[in-house]
Subunit: 354 residues, 2 copies
């Protein structure tokens, strides 16, 4: 019944009011560069300013890797989980995957012309921004189902890869895969250098993120946990088997779905968890409920000049889900979770900055 659930925080107003910002897919297919690696000689976490956030990371790694402490963790138990949107890369003005789905509509309709006069596809193709702004969440779900399911796994991977090699973010005019946070790339690498297995645990689509996670974050497909639908095994006319992406939702990897997804896919409790929104609350809580040293961090978007300011930095009300609400901020303070201020804790945000 329920098609692939949209990531929590797909706010209709945010979604539709930014349609005007969508660039047309154009230009040559640019290669996606691997993120710049920091030379170990340059010091650890060089894109971080000194402060409590950077120190919390160092303290945690020391506490869990120093065999002389009671908080030592065996290498095989070292699991660290990272939300993606807003934690590892830019999530504004719209989740990248939602941009992808909206931009895929013309291609889907070209293959399935019967959709041309069916809502919400008709409105989306009309170019009528006013009508588009009135599309509902069920409309969006129809768009996600049509653009993310019904094709083979291989076709989906190829389509998403092609798109990611060309589509650009309207503000920076750069590939979405370039808009990853350099300080977080350094944390991923630093944890892996200390035998941590790094996982993405995202409300976004598991298959979508797997297309680029290895290249962009150094995280292989099997370490990407996300909102996941089923697949259906079948055969083509020559008898060759293939898997078709099915609209049946298996895991809505948001909120309580994050610890549930971690149990399903990883099978043990993480020692470190990074998020940035209410959708990550239970994941941090679950991580923190384990014994010994546990690292719980939340990225606060408080830098409108270099990235965006939203959530507590803007005093937004609690009713919006999927963002860093004031209530989450209060909870973080109460539970001693570490808040990362993008403005104060990050010396630079993107690898293309100096």
């Amino acid at each position: 019944m329920n098609p692939i659930a949209p990531p929590s925080g797909v706010n209709r107003r945010v979604l539709l009011s930014t349609l005007a910002l969508l660039p047309a897919v154009s230009g040559p297919l640019l290669p996606v560069d691997a993120p710049a690696q920091t030379a170990t000689t340059a010091g650890l976490l060089p894109s971080w300013n000194d402060g409590p956030a950077k120190q919390a990371i160092f303290d945690f790694v020391r506490a869990t890797t120093d065999q002389s402490t009671p908080s030592y963790v065996l290498p095989e138990d070292r699991i660290a989980v990272f939300d993606q949107d807003g934690t590892l890369w830019v999530e504004h003005p719209m989740y990248t995957q939602v941009v992808y789905c909206l931009e895929r509509v013309p291609a889907v309709v070209a293959k399935r012309p019967e959709l041309k006069n069916v809502e919400p596809f008709k409105t989306l193709l009309s170019g009528n921004r006013e009508a588009m702004a009135k599309l509902s969440m069920p409309d969006l779900e129809k768009i996600l189902a049509a653009t993310l399911t019904g094709m083979t796994v291989e076709d989906f991977n190829a389509e998403a890869k092609n798109w990611l090699e060309a589509a650009k973010h309207p503000r920076w005019d750069r590939l979405y895969t370039e808009l990853v946070y350099q300080p977080m790339l350094e944390v991923l690498r630093y944890l892996r250098d200390n035998a941590y297995k790094t996982y993405i645990v995202t409300g976004g689509g598991q298959d979508f993120v797997r297309v680029y996670a290895e290249k962009v974050y150094g995280i292989p497909p099997e370490q990407v946990v996300g909102t996941a639908g089923g697949t259906k095994y079948g055969y083509d006319t020559s008898g060759k088997p293939f898997l078709t992406k099915d609209p049946k939702l298996l895991l809505n990897d948001n909120n309580a779905g994050k610890p549930e997804g971690i149990h399903l896919m990883i099978g043990r409790r993480p020692f470190a968890a990074f998020g940035n929104s209410t959708g990550d609350r239970q994941m941090l809580e679950w991580t923190g409920a384990g014994s010994g040293a546990r690292l719980k961090m939340l990225v606060l978007h408080d830098d409108a000049a270099r990235e965006y300011a939203y959530g507590p930095a803007q005093g937004l009300p609690d009713s919006r889900v999927g963002i860093f609400t004031p209530a989450l901020y209060d909870e973080a303070k109460k539970k001693d979770w570490t808040v990362i201020s993008m403005k104060n804790d990050w010396r630079r945000i993107f690898s293309f900055e100096n």
Copy 2:
């Protein structure tokens, strides 16, 4: 609606006619020894006799790890998948997990006395073998649901671990975890030594196998894919979060469910697949449909003296699922899958043999 599905091949007759063989849980808690490791100096795959099966493994590893060949596979892409029951350890006369569930019934009823007079629990507790032999598959499903779900993940893990440290196989009077096939332990180790990531892909319960897979096979929880139910996130009275095992089935990891589960949990096609029954057919087929060198192997149980003989070795009819049927044997021959004869290819079967 559907509780955790039983592994395919839970044949009611096999199941119930062997109830008489069940030992009472007794004796001290014996430690589960890690499997003996083969010294590399003793030569590779020492428990294998020379022959086409051993040679197929050597050829495959050479083809995928020698950089000078076109079939070379990058280390990060090296994925090998193994069915468990009948492929890595003994599955007769009954799946170990089913034995566990049946033996857990008294403890479950002690905690939930309202079940005492409810079927099928009443019959199971009666000791009346004749009545027990009449229990149906839906009855068994009720038993699986009652013994595998409704408790926290931690409680389940502790209960299963305790049981596995004491319960013994009726034929050998040894712990179930000792009844793993030494030649397969050597293959797991050999593939890992060649940078293969080894996964279990089992029709059995994912959470059950995870309890011992790291100790017994060197396979960590995150590399165990199995039939999996959901969990439900909640809080105890002190506000501490916990996960409860839910009867809702997420993945029936048998037959077509195996490639589907591999896509969900791993996200890429394996290069090597090992099975022993019709439940593994699609997994081998999916593996074989990839390009380059792919290893597809089926264990044939043809050694009644040292283990069991069933399937084609006994000329059993096709109608029984979950075993190595004559049709599967024919398909293997046609598709050039390698059949491992336990009798001819394995010099020894268990580590406790000389």
